[in-house]
């Protein structure tokens, strides 16, 4: 069953200045995510991945096309969707525990209940020792764990992640990827994961959408087909290399394209 569907989505950034052309960021995006799937979207930087993330999350408006959650058309942020951002998003003025509790507090869950739930999530991301620390006292990887816990505690059916490990070093990235798989298997949520790392996408996902540049659109879908549970040894399997190679070929074509901004007509309506 499709929990999330995106139909012929288009996004144009209309320019406010006369001498700056409007930019078509996304074009004809079609996407189907079934319940419990782990889907990745991969593309070169600047191809509109983050725009797509914002549109699906309801933070940005699309120019045309529609987004359906469990068959229902949505506009704006939806309670079934949880978002994990690329940038440092944990609040520096709150402790880890308070950060995780934040969303529950805002919807009026009582202190005892939200504390229990939050502690559970903090334990899940392995940060129990640090629940009373401020983000300033934690490493980048730990902060991202807090951000993940903060999203999970709201019990979303679909988790959108925009390069959540993008700012981290290679080792931390691999470790957090494995952690994410472990968590995902435990909570059985649906994950839509945006990344620019090929190995990360192959390692984590069931299906990978490869994105092309300017305007961003899906040029190919690849079924990974590597059995689960996966671990770091998955990297040395033949299938892993095969899929990596396929994605690499697609992306190479994209990145070798001349970097030019395709302007488009402003639609007057």
């Amino acid at each position: 069953m499709a929990v999330l569907e995106v139909r012929s989505l288009r996004k144009i950034y209309v320019s406010q200045e006369a001498n700056v052309p409007s930019v078509e960021a996304l074009k004809n995006i079609n996407l189907t995510v079934n319940k419990g799937e782990f889907i990745s979207i991969i593309g070169p930087s600047g191809c509109g991945k983050s725009t797509l993330f914002g549109v699906i999350g309801g933070l940005n408006e699309s120019t045309s096309g529609e987004i359906l959650i469990k068959g229902e058309k949505v506009r704006g942020p939806h309670p079934s969707i949880g978002m994990v951002f690329q940038e440092e998003s944990v609040f520096p003025w709150l402790t880890c525990l308070e950060n995780v509790e934040f969303g529950l507090k805002m919807i009026g869950v009582n202190k005892k209940e939200r504390r229990t739930k939050s502690r559970e999530m903090i334990e899940l991301v392995d940060l129990s020792e640090f629940e009373n620390h401020y983000p300033g006292e934690l490493s980048g990887g730990m902060k991202q764990r807090v951000a993940i816990a903060r999203t999970l505690v709201m019990d979303p059916e679909i988790i959108l992640m925009d390069e959540p490990f993008g700012a981290l070093d290679e080792q931390t990235r691999v470790i957090l990827g494995e952690e994410l798989l472990r968590i995902w298997e435990k909570i059985r949520a649906t994950i839509l994961f945006i990344t620019h790392s090929i190995s990360e996408s192959v390692m984590l996902s069931d299906r990978i959408y490869v994105m092309s540049c300017r305007p961003g659109t899906f040029k190919r879908t690849i079924d990974v087909g590597i059995p689960r549970p996966r671990s770091s040894s998955t990297i040395s399997t033949e299938r892993f290399c095969e899929v990596t190679d396929q994605i690499w070929k697609e992306l190479k074509e994209e990145t070798s394209k001349p970097m030019k901004i395709t302007s488009c007509e402003i639609e007057k309506n």
Binding site: M83, F91, G136
Partner: protein
Amino acid sequence: MKRTSKIKITKWSVLVGAAGCLEVISRTGMIKRSTLTPVSDMFITLWKLFITGGIPVRFLKDSSIAGNFFITFSEISLSFFFAVLIGLPIGILLWKFKTLARILNPYLVSYYAIPVFALYPLIVGFFGIGILSITLMGWLFAIVAVIINTATGFEEVDKRIYPKVGRSLRLSRSKIFLWIYFPGATPHLFTGLKLGFIYSIIGVIASEFILSTKGLGYLVRFSYSAFETEIMYASMLLIVIIAVLINGALMRVEAWLYGRQGR
């Protein structure tokens, strides 16, 4: 010895050394007593003033230490209070309305390049000599620091992803403002308050020099013209002590507010 304690000791030695130098210079007569009082005498005089509670300078309008202190204290507090009460909302408005900010920005940025004190005849003309004028000068001096830092604080939050986190959690605008923008802007807001308070002190004391008949600033000026060098230095010392104490307290509050957050 640890580095921090070394630094601490050196810091205090600089202060004590400087005071010691002044003491020696004036005690040996290198500089006349009528120009520079030995530092130890400044403290002794101040102590005596406190014990007797009165200032032994002839023709002084209000000769009680408490009275003068109270006047200055009220002027500072009032000017600071209104600088915050009016400056904070203006700062928020500037952040909300970018066009307004763009119009006012050149004035705000160049504000401290203009000596506000040069306007004192204007203020005296309108409001006369007294508490009102002095408070107004302190207020004028302090408010822009509050405005600028408030606007900057909220703009900084805009540059971060935090408001989007709030929106993804489907929070209302007012909740996002209260629970995300406000705490996010706190470090800058506090800088604004701290600067505003210091500017209030400067504005009030300096105005008392020129347009007052009461207060600690006036006391300095009056004892200076009355050749009461010792009293003058004692009053200056009192002002310095008050400023240092207040600043220390503000730093404590700051450390307590977000010392561990490391931001």
